[in-house]
Symmetry: D2
Subunit: 364 residues, 4 copies
């Protein structure tokens, strides 16, 4: 089940970075939702390589095709298959990785697990695998537009290395995120971040950072007791993205340094609606949304594949030195933004349908 996600809105992704292609099958999508290839392509274009000078130059149009589940512009309620064929695959650039394991990459662990790996690129561990997720999330977005029209999911780069942007999650706008190539809506900081990434690339090095994501217009009541708490599902969703090392929601790790009397969010009435005076809970209490904005942060490590010489071992157990070639992102953060949004959309869509199934209606 390694490649399945979701319960009511359930996706199965497939594909390696160097093979026939990548894609996804979505099961459980409601019928009569408007959906076109353009809806999917729009989001794929945000995560594709080659879109700016600070990401990998691999030249992939990532042209999607919807192969089933849609008829005359509307979903049928049957599985939606979306595929993207691989075009600009250059396995020769990976020839040295046939014999040597890249440090902190998945080469060694895949070999240890399966006794075989597709060494031509990252295989299943490549960021290319996220195409299926982003495509499925584009469908989830259409479903949520119909079910929860007020919902907004916006992610953006919060930090790169030591640089931290100043952004208000309650008011940040999608246009401001897309206004620059690093996807940081704090414009002056974005300039500095872009410079930093360019510098890293010129050194053959890489750098990490954090993405913040806010979900506004949430109804109260999504999420479930115990294991499928909304924060648990979001944590799994985000930590399943390549290169992630940490997740926090609401007050996060900083909240662990507060007293209860400082941390608790007092309830207040706003007209007929129950609100909280503060939002350290991050919109989730006891695993279930309370109607306030959900905000979360995800830590991404620096890209493992760098162009500096590194110590490693071969598949035969010999120590060696490896200097990568190929085309790689010096910083995954700009392209991670649509991936984080995608995972949030998949979780919310799944829980919206689960709630409708068990309880019968959605608030908001």
């Amino acid at each position: 089940m390694s490649s399945h996600f979701g319960h009511a809105f359930r996706i199965a992704t497939w594909g390696e970075s160097h093979g026939g292609g990548v894609g996804v099958v979505i099961d459980g999508c409601p019928p009569l939702i408007e959906l076109s290839e353009a809806d999917v392509q729009r989001d794929l274009d945000r995560r594709r390589p080659g879109q700016s000078e600070i990401v990998t130059p691999r030249d992939e149009a990532d042209q999607c095709r919807i192969l089933s589940g849609v008829f005359e512009g509307k979903t049928l309620g049957t599985p939606i298959a979306i595929s993207v064929l691989n075009k600009d695959a250059r396995p020769d650039a990976y020839r040295e990785m046939e014999q040597a394991f890249r440090p902190s990459h998945a080469d060694y662990t895949y070999q240890a697990k399966f006794g075989i790996r597709n060494w031509q690129g990252g295989g299943r561990a490549s960021a290319r695998e996220t195409i299926g997720r982003v495509a499925a999330a584009a469908v989830a977005k259409q479903v949520l537009r119909a079910l929860l029209p007020s919902l907004e999911v916006i992610a953006y780069v919060k930090t790169i290395h030591e640089l931290t942007a100043d952004i208000d999650p309650e008011t940040v706008r999608f246009e401001d995120v897309e206004a620059n190539i690093v996807r940081c809506p704090d414009a002056p900081m974005a300039v500095r971040m872009i410079e930093l990434i360019k510098g890293m690339r010129s050194e053959g090095d890489s750098v990490g950072g954090t993405v913040e994501c806010v979900i506004r217009g949430m109804p109260a009541g999504l999420g479930e007791p115990v294991f499928d708490k909304l924060e648990a599902e979001l944590a799994k969703a985000m930590m399943s993205l390549p290169a992630t090392k940490g997740f926090e929601v609401g007050s996060g790790f900083a909240g662990a340094k507060l007293r209860g009397s400082e941390h608790n969010d007092a309830f207040v009435m706003e007209g007929d609606r129950v609100r909280t005076a503060t939002n350290r809970s991050g919109g989730i209490q006891g695993g279930i949304s309370n109607g306030e904005a959900i905000f979360l942060r995800v830590a991404f490590k620096p890209t493992a594949t760098i162009f500096k010489a590194q110590q490693t071992v071969t598949t035969d157990g010999e120590e060696t030195e490896l200097r990568a070639r190929g085309r790689h992102d010096p910083c995954v953060l700009p392209r991670a933004v649509p991936m984080v949004e995608a995972m949030a959309l998949l979780v919310i869509c799944d829980h919206a349908l689960r709630q409708r199934g068990q309880v019968g209606a959605l608030q908001g």
Copy 2:
């Protein structure tokens, strides 16, 4: 599926804090594993209330009973049902919560989701719910003893409020964790932590902190590509515990501030075995264990239920003030330690069986 966890070693928990009891059903446990009620009770005793002066005084022996799946001291391969009946339930102490929502607790969100809640205590959102997890993990521990005899899972309190312990995850011992009531193996710091918690309790306040967990003796090859990455499953597991706000593995959020050349773990040979020279990956690469120690940290917020007056609203939408009574932990951390271990054990056991099913054998 809110109360199911795991795929091959699959558990279903049940129970509210004030009702007949709590428990778990485990499906998929291998046969012929030695298991007694004493094996389970030992771990339940570590998480039960009333075990020390810094946790809730609710007096529950939490006596478990194995009702099925075991015959003459060995597992049958059929479902193992374990139950613990509730004894010291005092619903009257919660009477004011029938009408008012506790700030930052699950009272409001359960009501918003289901239109009903068991207001006598935390219901399904109570820490009491974790009994089923700890019981199931005691079974997982027996399975892992048979399958992976070198495996060790040790959790401990790393921080309380601003106090941070100094502990080496590679060498920390279980006995040192259990040597004091706060479960912090840095003995001088443990004394200070205990004083801090006592102070909070006397003020009617509460405090948060972090638990660190190390998994040593891991075989390489556990975990799966894409969604069921080991870190993703661990993240979900930990973030499904009550009061959690953050999760990190290996270098965590600090890793997001490093360059690739600083962060990457060089591979080296140690005899026949592939090792890493450093361990910023935290024992997982590409979602799959590499044989190094896994270490992770979980942030817990301060307990929501405090004895100070707080602003809130009633079920009828009136603003009011609430001052909790009842018996509550001023700090969940000491009792969170066995819960974190339990969740780690459940994830590892599940993935060990999944690996054996798909690939046929386990390393190590």
Copy 3:
């Protein structure tokens, strides 16, 4: 997952015939459904042993207890745990089965699969295991009363050995089924069936038969394309009952002998409603209900445990002769009736919630 059933209304059963007890945990039940222990007990009493002179005399009251998920007479939306403790267990009556495998029973296959078995009775393969199913179905019945008030599920004995009852599934009433101890609503035939069973018991032999089940008042639109077709789910549900050898729906095996022009059900209008002029489809087309009555039949083999001497082998591989003692049904059919109803209710309830989740509302 051997002991899980259902997707949205998901149950996990546990228990052996000789052990602590048996029971079930139900996850995904809608909240605010009226539910009492009496609702469950009523159905358990119909399947319990010792209820008449033609079933096993094992004296079990099968007293159920609801341990969680219900508060002040209504479901909470959280897991509902129901347990029944074993009382009249007499393992000594099974002592010879410790060494010898009963022919056509599960003794040998459990030993071959798991390397261990609870030889004290049928263990997990006992009909006692169905208590959890019947209890869960009693909850499903309450859910369906709220969601689909016109729905009726009625099963009855259609044949015993060569005796075939004459019953109209469109009009048969529950009271007529319960009017006699063999649960055959064709009263004169019921008398003959009872005589036949008594004769078998006095000979130390057993006998099989078929149960027919009708589901009336079904909305159109339940069931799913492809694998979870309604007839496929019903087939699995029924064939998971002990001692079943066959399943058919609508025209069944007889339908395989017809031409298309004879078999097809013409559509006609009845007021605003689309109906079929005939019902060879048995209420299901393409895996989805069409609003007509669903009817199905299940074949049960004669009870394996008989009191005549039989040739078999020991656990040590020696040939031997076995003559059973203990308390056994000479014919499972009368007690199979509530089991068949239970499985039908579980399937319908699960699909009703699935439909509400994916499509948003139920017809009818």
Copy 4:
């Protein structure tokens, strides 16, 4: 989850008869299994239309492409995506079905369920959907060749209308099945069956029948207690095929007419191996294989789409008459044979991996 099947060897199929194509994603396949497109194509060719004069003349090569999960001729352990694009789609032949529901077809129920349907052919309810199953089963066959080399799964036509073939399931050979176009290894009866089908086609009518399937070389110990009994999983698998009305295993419905003393299979020793003297159990006892041949039968109704005028209603609720055009099988049985084999292979492969996961090794 309507389009998912299996637990450890898990498939997700997609596709409509008239749309981009059809296919499958297989998750959980063991690594290092030899697999080529030719292995899959061989089985697809057995189920494709246009292969003989007694099946539908739709001209589809059903050329498959493996898009992921295979590298240098071996499986990687990652998802295997296989697709077949639609070529000879002629939606115009279905124009009258845009307005009118075909009797006993899925047209009405899909519309009732989803509020929309792809009326250009059978959509998701078309037999074309089984391509994904047959492709996945071709992979399962390769896995089973490695895990259980003695295993053989052979299906064949047992009856057409009133014609019944005389075949010994213990000895029937694959070559004899493939020796004629109706796939009935009783050669003289095959001649009569072919004549019968040709007659039906010339009358514009259709006819049903039964397929029998035998699984030889099974190890003991596959299958699970309670819901995932081997016969229950096989029943679901078979009843999920289009046009099925009944399923039986071993003695089947005829077994319901026997006494226990007649039905029970005595155990005997054959060297070191426990065997049964007879095989009325059909190779399964208590839901678990006993090592004897499994045999089962599946009833298929006559094809719903016939060329005679039939009474029906329109989507607007008007009564009308429909006379189908298009290309349809006058009898699904010859093409159902590889479908039945496919479903059996999928069930056995899934349970072999489940057994290896839980218990650690496979017998035989």
